[in-house]
Amino acid sequence: MLSSPERNAQAATIADTDTPPVVTTSAADPSFAALAARWYRLNRGRLRALAIGIVSLLAFLMVWHLLTTYRVVLFVRFVNVPSPLAVYASLDKAIHDPKFLLHILLSCRRILIGFSFAAIVAVPLGLIMGRFKLAHEVIFPVAEVLRPIPAIAWVPMAIMLWPTNEQSIVFITFLGSFFPILVNTLHGMSLVDPVLVRAAQCLGARERSIFREVYFPASLPHIFTGLTVGMGVAWVSLIAAEMISGQYGIGYFTWEAYSLVQYPDIALGMIAIGVLGLGSSLIIRGVGQLVMPWRST
């Protein structure tokens, strides 16, 4: 426990940081210090979150480090778990190893092909199903039957269906992202405000223009939700498929590391998958903001 003068001193410093810095609001061009102070006031919440975030990550690394260096066994066994430093060492080795980069590159290629195909098929299909009742009535029951089957359950079937291993893995990735994109596009179409359609008709828009100028942009926010979810499921499906039937890819790398008792590489593979997943969802978000400027404030 702190003694009382110390506690008072601490309270004083807290109070100090809480009072906003004095800013001269004179109209004449503000000094750099004043501008900096204002920027600080406006962004204080964000700076705080950033600072706490960094501290929290460092704490996580510290706990990981301690658990592994002391080989803690608390029912969960950290005996063979690699320490952060060991993982860092293997990362240092891996980024100079063309084979590791090839693993990553191939996984990215599979995602790119599988996910792009899914988007190219599912978005137009969803738009058409949302607009034309017959298309919905024909396709929806089939989609509903196939949708609950996890992409991983398709692995044996995919191997039978496609001539090469590579194609079957891409197919699994495609399947994983297909249904989230389709379902969200359909949802977006169902929420299009009928008043906007009528407004367009009153301004002389025909079916095709209404589709392009109203239904499509109105559904875009939900389409992008579908793409984000679809991208997540695509990675899940890809990693599982690579672990089962791959010869290359970051999922295969991670599984192989376990088989070859390269424990630091397991964690390295996991972290790489996390970073790739995060990166791809950031890309989708960025594209979304670019395509929908009216949504960014």
Partner: protein
């Protein structure tokens, strides 16, 4: 604006022997029955009536969204069968395209007509200037106030040079002060363009202030109960709303509508209100039941 000169001759709306019913689980529902209305070229006509009387139904039929069960709707002798840019419409829900900027919204009708980009940009800027919105041309609708949104909605509907302008309670969602300003703006625009206007509202003051003629509708099934000419001089000023002439018109319309509103609520009133909520307590006291 060479079109303005000829526009005065266009825009004759005629609704003859109009009725509209639709199927429901309880059988056919008669929304509007045996209605005749007309709007002469360049005239400002309002339809008022109790809620649910079918005034919006009538307007939607003129717009071409609903087909009459019997009767006929014509504009300049041509039968209406489907929406078109010849009949501009302003909706109560603002109905601006959120993904288009203010200018792109105004340009939309011209784009549909195939006008080249630079030409329609210029036209949209001019129109926005008339409505005092040129500073907001690059804004998205979300950032605008309700009154500004509705001004853009009116400008958008006028951009294609329609024969008639249809407005479905356009100021219903605005606060009282904004509504008064919007009414002034609308009359100014109407006087400048001399376009035929059919205006649906439940606000009696608004109908009198804006119109040359007011149709008052009956409760459901709706039909025309009365047709009231508004002989107030133009241009209309806000101060006119205090004149005895205005107030007399207001009193007349008010009593017509009250009669119909009571009729519309008749069922509920006789069942509950008039009988004073007789609840059979089966001989127990209220406290016991509760």
């Amino acid at each position: 604006m060479s079109e303005t000169a000829t526009r005065g001759l266009r825009g004759h709306i005629e609704v003859k022997n109009f009725s509209l019913s639709y199927e429901s689980i309880d059988g056919a529902v008669q929304a509007v029955t045996d209605t005749q209305i007309h709007v002469r070229p360049g005239e400002f006509v309002s339809i008022v009536g109790p809620s649910g009387c079918g005034k919006s139904t009538l307007l939607n039929a003129v717009a071409g969204f609903l087909k009459p069960s019997t009767g006929i709707v014509t504009v300049d002798g041509e039968r209406v069968n489907g929406p078109s840019a010849e009949r501009g419409m302003v909706f109560q829900q603002y109905s601006l395209f959120p993904w288009k900027t203010v200018r792109e919204n105004v340009e939309f009708g011209l784009k549909m007509r195939g006008m080249p980009r630079s030409q329609r940009e210029r036209a949209a800027r001019t129109l926005l200037g008339l409505a005092g919105l040129e500073a907001f041309e690059k804004h998205y609708p979300e950032k605008l106030s309700g009154g500004m949104k509705q001004r853009v909605g009116i400008v958008r509907a006028l951009a294609t040079g329609p024969k008639v302008l249809l407005l479905d309670e356009p100021f219903g969602a605005l606060d009282a002060q904004t509504r008064v300003i919007m009414q002034q703006i609308l009359t100014n625009m109407w006087q400048r363009l001399k376009i035929s206007v059919l205006f649906v509202t439940h606000d009696i003051d608004e109908a009198i202030f804006l119109s040359d003629r007011v149709y008052c509708m009956t409760a459901r099934p709706g039909s025309v109960k009365a047709e009231i000419p508004i002989p107030l001089e133009r241009p209309r000023q806000q101060s006119m709303m205090m004149t005895s002439e205005f107030l007399a018109l207001r009193r007349g319309l008010m009593s017509l509508i009250r009669e119909e509103s009571l009729k519309a609520m008749g069922g509920e009133i006789s069942d509950l209100g008039m009988q004073g909520l007789n609840i059979d307590l089966h001989g127990q006291s209220l406290a016991e039941v509760l």
